[in-house]
Subunit: 692 residues, 2 copies
């Protein structure tokens, strides 16, 4: 529980300063100006008072059990100060100062030192090298932070390692007149983590929306667990930056972390039900809508506007995102025909015309609130000087109180002139945006969350028929032999142990054995030269396909013997399966997280079209099905141009079995089933590779 | 020349009103409040003065030769009023009133009536059903408009049919503190057109940026011509809405126009060099940058920031759009190492740290202005309370005066608190944006315009070896016979007349003729049942491929005879060309504009992957080459997986010849060359279709 951190009754500032431009001064001023309801203890060895508040020489002179202590002192003084705090029973310390792990080994040592002391005394540490926290609750009003955005009470809670972006987001809400609840930026995050804070926000009833910005996940498994928990309770909005290689590098440079690809993070978000954004503006605007609006029941939007063009823009954005603008019911239409101007358009979008009055807007709002075919209401509202815009705003605010269906408003006005109209909507908690695209995207986010809530998560199926021990043994033997790449025999052995269908195969030492093998499995066959010394078989003529008779087997093996003069040469004989559809599956270990699992069409589809889809293990049945349906070439699986489709159930099962295999054998670094030949009835892996 | 409209010396208002909420009052008030430098003539049969200005009973009482007359009177009174204006030598009339073509036939008749009178007297008409114009030039200050955004003088000129969106855009500039030059919204556009206004803006030296919003083009050919002319001179920014079917419908509903697909408009913009936007916010922000910044020489961005996270976001946006963040020169780096804080990052992005001073910013700015490896400068600027942000702003504004390389600034602050800092940057014409993504996208637009200026437009090649007359004759005969779909013979005849290589073919009446034909062209061949009565040949067994000998020809023709018991049955015999790469080309007439021309990979690539690209005729050599390189499957044309590539030159030539063919034969409605079999050395059309 982070209550004593986020709802402090007392705050001390070690390093409190009388100098205006000092953080140790600013924090105290912020607490005072924000109207902190608790007690403030400035700590300064020299000053008697700071910002008009009695100062103490040392934390040791203060009362016991202070909730939050700020430290704004040089890094090297921090360990002793933490020790002192421990003795006084301080509950939380926010270290605003820098000079710790972010600067290198020297700072790291200091961080380790104070952290050990904090643990000893059971003190929770926020930071170091961080801004701190804000709680806007009128009962608390804690501005334990040196920045400047002073929020009104609200329902959005923000957390981010990056203080810069957290502040940009916070500033965004403030500029819109949207309040926030909690704010936290924890810099180096040596103790209190982002997932811990997110969980705290998730459990806070007053927090209706959780917002975060990340450049990478330090503890992806915990993040996934917490995100899943919180996203099921309330909208959890996240933005991940460092998406490009250069962006990741820039992130690594300012956080001292490692540049990482973002695919795994995206998948964690997706699987956990986090609403992701690539644009901080979209995130801010969506959060503002979630803060006051109910989640829509569906994706059907009713548009009311008093100007045409902007509604066209909004329609484009809404429809492109998969929302619909359905016709209104006949009842609604005839009602509107009666109440609106003769020239007004009563189709959806409803255009009440620039001369449309408050009564007209109200009639539309009421009708759409009643119309069962409409799930959410988009309002376009330009403020012509010749209508009473304030009364229109009042009607919108009034209907908005119902909280029955979400409303977003594209308010097109000069905010410096139409101040009263703006104020009515703002106080009425109607989310207002100056641009139609922006308002429309906020609406899209509301519907996206509905889709997240309604999504089929599926179940991770555990196949009982697998021979886990056998596969583990193969891996273990390979590891003992320090093999990085498994032999074909090992690979097929593992696949078979997990019930993944492979094309029949056999290793033959001689031409005769190869002939026997081919006869056993039935012609045609493929023969591959098998030796640890032959790396690029295919390029070197070590692969012969479509061998149809015994003589050809003999001829092929002899040719290979001549070509590859190696002592350990064997022949990998495998049933040749022409005419199927080539698909591929693959996996790549993600440190501390599991495996990225890939599925796609084989051959040029993967090489040229990059038509592949990824997921993270463990993959559920629904997720495996979604992988199949998400590739662009999905219709090929169902059959096109008169060709029969393939057995998708078997492919789904292969993905699930692969997921189980990877889960059981985390030591697998990379794995490729390329290709899997898929047919109407069945599917077989015909080439595979595993590296450890 | 629209000078007398945009730079009026006198403005009369017919329908001037003493009532506050009347447009006829608002226009006069706007003119007064905006400081109109010319004379205002309120016209009102009853009032002696309006807004303190002497009123006239009738336009006939006013002096002669008034530049602009507003009409704010019922539609039915307009024709006579226009007649009166004509008698007084009025030069331009802005009709703010509605009730004309937008409401149906009745209004259309009135519009036609007044238009005839206007033409008689050589009066130019803006509107009807429009807002009007604004000219912010201190020498003129004409606010001939009833809206409310009062611009500072600036360099952006706006035009749009849709007053709603024009106003939103205008409001966007105003909210940013960016001035505008001209503004025009012409509603029904019965006389003065959008292209005419755009050309006027293009010729105006003070207009540095032209901005428009369209939902469709009324006269695409003129638009293309004007756009090309203007875009070559200055940045011409455009947004097209109605991109989705629903959006197009909404547009049609509020403009009374037809819902249209937007592909042609996009291509017109592209070919003309118009900078297009799908988001009005991006358009506004980009225009603001163009208004004050020079066009960059290239795409290499230097980033200076005092906070890490937002620079990561910016980096992502810039890099994703194809810009680069190159390393700084060693000279620059060592210089910065000397001047910045020890902990600062002197890699690009340069992080001067939150404590970075004006001197630090200045050092970076100077270095990047000097560094030949940097084309444009992105500034991230958060305003910590502990640094002198005003002096930082002053340095940025100072360097911005150089206009050597473009600068955009992501200013992260509370504008209500840091007013002086904001003011310094604003007055210094530094384009400032609150969000990093937004600032980065504005920078991307600057670079996009550089790419437009540098693009290879190419030439429309005219092939002299074509037999235009023959092709025209074939078409003419088909039209006389009222054929909508040409026979194979006609189609191949036309292709051959234009030098488009087709696979050898012949029509045979009998089995014997078919055998002769096959022998002539060489086996293998394809045989298709040819009869007007057989529509879906392929599905009905009317196509036999890969026929390798005379016997098979005989057998095939006999089978077809039995299967299709039709009197006119003939056999279309064609050389069978296996092993090539299937590509396709096609065309579709765009009314009044030419043809949409399509190229792509054949088979499932077009069916499933939709991997096709469009252009508009006439297609230049460079454009044809770009079509080939723009498809996703482009590497297939060059050869993959050991396969040889195809002759791209021949494909480029086929596209150009097709373009010439379509240009010469505009009556062609649709055309498909599907497939064209492409080989290493040559390419042949093996199936084609033309409809009229």
């Amino acid at each position: 529980m982070l209550d004593s951190l986020f709802k402090p009754k007392s705050v001390a500032v070690i390093g409190a300063s009388t100098r205006e431009l000092h953080i140790g001064n600013r924090v105290i001023k912020n607490l005072i100006e924000f109207g902190f309801k608790g007690t403030i203890y400035p700590i300064n060895p020299k000053a008697d008072e700071i910002c008009g508040i009695k100062a103490f020489k040392s934390i040791l002179d203060c009362p016991d059990g202070i909730d939050v202590v700020h430290m704004v002192i040089p890094a090297k003084l921090v360990p002793q100060a933490v020790e002192d705090c421990g003795k006084k029973g301080v509950k939380n310390i926010i270290i605003n100062s820098g000079g710790f792990s972010e600067i290198g080994p020297e700072g790291e040592a200091i961080e380790k030192d104070f952290l050990e002391r904090a643990e000893k005394y059971n003190i929770r540490m926020l930071g170091p090298n961080c801004q701190g926290i804000i709680n806007s609750d009128p009962k608390c009003r804690a501005y334990c932070n040196f920045t400047y955005t002073k929020p009104d009470p609200g329902h959005i809670s923000i957390v981010s390692l990056s203080g810069g972006v957290a502040e940009v987001i916070h500033q965004g809400f403030s500029a819109m007149g949207v309040g926030t609840r909690f704010y936290a930026s924890n810099g180096n995050a040596c103790d209190v983590t982002i997932p811990e804070i997110i969980r705290y926000y998730g459990n806070d009833d007053e927090t209706k929306v959780v917002v975060t910005y990340v450049e990478g996940l330090r503890d992806p498994i915990t993040f996934r667990e917490v995100a899943r928990e919180v996203a099921a309770k309330k909208p959890f909005l996240a933005m991940k930056a460092g998406r490009t290689e250069e962006g990741a590098k820039a992130a690594a440079s300012h956080t001292g972390g490692l540049a990482k690809e973002d695919l795994a993070t995206d998948l964690i978000f997706k699987k956990a039900g986090v609403l992701t954004f690539n644009d901080e503006g979209d995130l801010i605007n969506a959060a503002a809508a979630f803060a006051s609006q109910p989640v829509p029941k569906g994706n059907r939007v009713g548009i009311i506007t008093n100007t045409g063009g902007p509604a066209v823009i909004a329609t484009d954005v809404l429809v492109a995102a998969g929302l619909t603008i359905p016709p209104l019911s006949e009842k609604t239409k005839s009602m509107l025909q009666e109440k609106l101007f003769k020239e007004a358009s009563v189709n959806n979008p409803v255009d009440v015309l620039a001369t449309g009055t408050a009564e007209h807007y109200r009639a539309c709002l009421d009708a759409m609130m009643e119309d069962d075919g409409i799930d959410c209401i988009y309002i376009g509202f330009v403020t012509p000087f010749f209508v009473n815009t304030e009364s229109i705003a009042k009607e919108i605010a009034e209907v908005n109180k119902q909280k029955k269906k979400p409303i977003v408003c594209n308010l097109m006005t000069d905010k410096r002139e139409w101040t009263e109209t703006v104020k009515i909507l703002q106080e009425g908690q109607v989310p207002c945006y100056s641009l139609p695209s922006v308002a429309a995207r906020a609406m899209c986010a509301l519907v996206r969350y509905r889709n997240i809530l309604d999504r089929e998560v599926g179940k991770v199926k555990i196949f009982e028929d697998v021979n886990k021990e056998l596969a583990a043994e193969i891996i273990e033997n390979a590891r003992s032999a320090e093999k990085k790449i498994l032999t074909a025999e090992d690979v097929y052995g593992i696949l078979e142990a997990y019930g993944i269908p492979v094309s029949p195969w056999k290793i033959a030492a001689t031409a005769e054995e190869a002939i026997e093998a081919a006869k056993d499995m039935g012609f045609p066959v493929v023969i591959k030269a098998d030796s640890e010394r032959i790396v690029h078989k295919s390029d070197m003529g070590g692969v012969a396909v479509n061998i149809t008779d015994e003589d050809s087997v003999k001829k092929t093996t002899e040719e290979m013997k001549n070509k590859f003069n190696v002592p350990d040469l064997k022949f990998f004989v495998q049933k040749f399966l022409p005419g199927g559809l080539e698909v591929i599956a693959g996996a790549k270990a993600e440190e501390g997280l599991g495996h990225l699992l890939m599925f796609g069409l084989g051959g040029i589809y993967v090489e040229i079209m990059k038509d592949v889809i990824f997921d993270l293990t463990p993959v559920t049945d629904s997720e495996a099905e979604e992988m199949l349906s998400s590739i662009k070439g999905a219709p090929l699986l169902d059959g096109v141009r008169g060709q029969k489709g393939v057995n998708k159930k078997i492919l789904v099962e292969i993905i699930q079995r692969l997921s189980q295999l990877l889960n059981d054998l985390p030591v697998i670094k990379e794995m490729d089933l390329n290709p899997i030949m898929a047919f109407e009835k069945d599917a077989f892996v015909v080439d595979a590779r595993i590296s450890l």
